[in-house]
Symmetry: C2
Subunit: 472 residues, 2 copies
């Protein structure tokens, strides 16, 4: 079914939710990597779930596509489409409730991650999901993308932290409360269908989020390791000794540290010279985390798995180590990636993913910066031109073909934590599990028969049947 | 659409998967509470996912209903239906792989929970889901029901422990591998749609399960508390001091302990006389769990939240405490419940659920045994006749109406961890969130248009359109 441009339905949308419409500004029309940009757009900024529902109902009736917009930090183009109503949550930022008894925070979809974290902290609790864009990413977008970040190893993805969601379905029906139950087996888990669906099956308007008691004792270290394989073994030692107290375990490539040294020379790096490989490890325990971390380091060093290390001796040093980790994307941006890949493989395959990838890319004249959430088997596997060579010298698509081909051979995912969006929709359709794709298409057609919800994201737009024009 | 009796398709089923069919034995036709019993049935015991797929494909073509059967321990009648093909997983029990590096165990759907636990233990790891029927419950059934149990507080439901599933969809398509990725955002989470759907959207044939490092130090105590409210406050103290190290927190009613004293007099109870309310708490920490538990107890006692207590001093004592907890259902069965309810409410509402329930049931001459997973807001809220009165004297439906009515007022669930099955399908359809029900029906119709998958479970069978007979 062909969709109509949102502008054509402006009058009915204004009648449905008066005072919510305006013309989109440039910030509503683009995304961080600059690959997608809409020329113009009609913006809706609803103030309540009821207004969201009224707008969605109208779009369903008028056959207008909807792109939900959170903080706009997504990296796969899920937030940009031409001709759709851009439904921004910037006015729905309330934190409705925090319960320490229930370890629960209920907020609207537009709440910014760092505000949620701060609200939890004020109650002596931790909202454990964290990522570099926390100052602008909004809860609704994080849920739509099932965001990950640096603490997934311990506390899970956004999906695992959402006790319940309130959402508007493609026909305008409001779903849920959001619920606050830890156990509820009354029917299908529609919540998990909406989370990670990138706004293509409905729009999350509020959520109940799980809080956790903050570990009383935290220790953080930056440790040089001889190889990714050694890093994986070090993780095993850490898990054996500290159990689930290992809350982050990030692999850092010397290539990325080199980019930082070149482009952010004022950023103080923990080890000099920058090791080819290092890990950033954090423990959170009820007590004596530093002792536990020292013990892990000694055992690893004895086994030849660890070289030089810096153990943070203060909260400021801890923050400084994380600052280096979180600056890596800035270094990447300064150099300019040829092709970025957000991949996961079974944990045990991570060393092979790096070693075999390097072999297959040999002779292509690229630099690989593979870094990220080793504990989750999730790497950002980004390729850069050799020094002195220009991006135009390379066939980026062929490079992605090599990387994604290897990922598939190893049983991995080409969309680990950033989602599919528009960037990977065609590739997913071409190479995904056919059974899963068929189920996805059936679910999409059942819940959104007119295809108004974030059209073209996750699943490519269906081809129009020939001879069918736009309805008058 | 009308379904045909499985027996009519026997020849095609035999051709599709030779050597898998037989006549069902009584154990395949009944369920533990004796409310549902099929008169007869055609049994299939496939040996592989390919055979499951062949059988399902044939059932789809022949319009034969399928009831998947695990250990048969379900409590809501999800495993019993007349005229369907009973698809038992008793021949698909292989544990395909255990990876300590990946903290992962891959097994077929017929693997028995206690075998999975033992296999994990042999590798120095813990599969943390546990419940009283672990010696017969099978992984496929546990996934279908999204089973809970005593460690959900810390490690989550079955859903949270399933990294990936392999499944056969209603048209016979095989989905997945099962995957072993901790992070995978490549499309909709069909896994979570199948888990908890009680076999109505597809049949799980294998799963990758998350293992955890076993806590090095475990401490368990049985503590008398003055009230459910005090128990909740005690939980708060425990979480403040031991963080997520609180791995179980069970509320025990003196009524249930009285049943045990009467009907299992040889079972040694931890405290005498049995307190009106007590909790069974377990901590699992990297070290010094007993000290931590002693500290929690002292703080609680000082605040008037704890009375007498027994701290397990050995593994045998720990097992003995758990044995008392897990015997409570035996005591209940010996007395004979009028009405059992598997409910959850927001954690903070648990004391009100008990106090207000007692008020509303006053004058009905019933005894309430409310016990279970306080840490999850999940209670088994079971009603028994007063001493000397017969079950026939009571209107069980009216009693359930009172209990479930209160649950709904408090924003709770009438199907917390046992599922909906056939027992609660009509009530869910009548009282559930209309938006969620509409989405459920749309998903069911999309994935299982002929309605062959566990017909009548979760969603009631659709009424036949008038004038439409069985296809010739």
């Amino acid at each position: 079914m062909t969709l109509r441009p949102a502008e054509e339905a402006r009058a009915s949308l204004e009648a449905a939710a008066p005072g919510t419409l305006s013309t989109a500004e440039p910030r509503h029309l683009e995304e961080p990597r600059g690959r997608w940009r809409a020329a113009s757009g009609l913006l809706a900024r609803p103030r309540s779930t009821a207004e969201v529902a009224a707008l969605v109902r109208t779009c369903a009736r008028e056959r207008v596509g909807i792109v939900p917009l959170g903080g706009g930090t997504g990296l796969v183009g899920g937030q940009v489409a031409e001709g759709c109503l851009i439904l921004s949550f910037e006015r729905m930022t309330a934190i409705r409730e925090i319960s320490r008894t229930e370890d629960l925070l209920i907020c609207e979809a537009g709440a910014i991650l760092s505000d949620v974290q701060a609200a939890a902290e004020a109650e002596g609790r931790l909202f454990p999901l964290s990522l570099a864009s926390k100052g602008s990413a909004r809860i609704g977008g994080l849920l739509a993308a099932n965001a990950g970040g640096v603490n997934v190893l311990r506390w899970g993805n956004m999906r695992d932290l959402a006790v319940g969601v309130e959402a508007v379905l493609p026909d305008g029906t409001v779903l849920g409360g959001p619920g606050r139950l830890r156990k509820d087996n009354a029917g299908y888990d529609i919540r998990h269908l909406l989370i990670g669906a990138e706004g293509t099956l409905g729009i999350v308007t509020a959520a109940s989020l799980r809080l956790v008691p903050p570990p009383a004792s935290v220790a953080t270290a930056w440790i040089a390791v001889p190889s990714p394989e050694a890093a994986l073994k070090l993780l095993g030692i850490a898990r054996d000794r500290a159990g689930e107290g290992v809350s982050a375990f990030e692999l850092i490539s010397g290539v990325g540290l080199g980019f930082l040294a070149e482009h952010l020379p004022d950023l103080r790096q923990p080890l000099a010279p920058a090791p080819d490989w290092s890990v950033l490890i954090e423990l959170g325990l009820p007590s004596a985390a530093e002792d536990a971390l020292a013990g892990i380091y000694e055992a690893a060093a004895e086994a030849g798995l660890a070289g030089e290390a810096v153990l943070a001796a203060s909260e400021a040093q801890r923050a400084a180590l994380w600052d280096v980790r979180e600056s890596i994307p800035l270094g990447n941006r300064a150099v300019g990636a040829l092709a970025s890949h957000d991949i996961s493989v079974p944990l045990g395959m991570v060393p092979e993913m790096i070693a075999e990838g390097v072999r297959r890319l040999e002779g292509r004249g690229v630099r690989l910066n593979a870094f990220g959430h080793l504990g989750d088997g999730n790497l950002h596997y980004n390729l850069f031109p050799a020094r002195g060579r220009a991006r135009g010298d390379y066939d980026a698509e062929a490079l992605t073909g090599i990387v994604h081909g290897l990922v598939r051979e190893l049983g991995g995912s080409i969309a680990a934590e950033h989602g599919v969006g528009r960037l990977k929709a065609a590739e997913l359709a071409a190479t995904g599990d056919p059974g899963k794709l068929a189920a996805m298409r059936a679910v999409k057609a059942a819940l959104d028969p007119a295809g108004i919800m974030n059209p073209g994201a996750v699943l490519p737009r269906r081809a129009e049947p020939p001879g069918r024009g736009r309805p008058a």
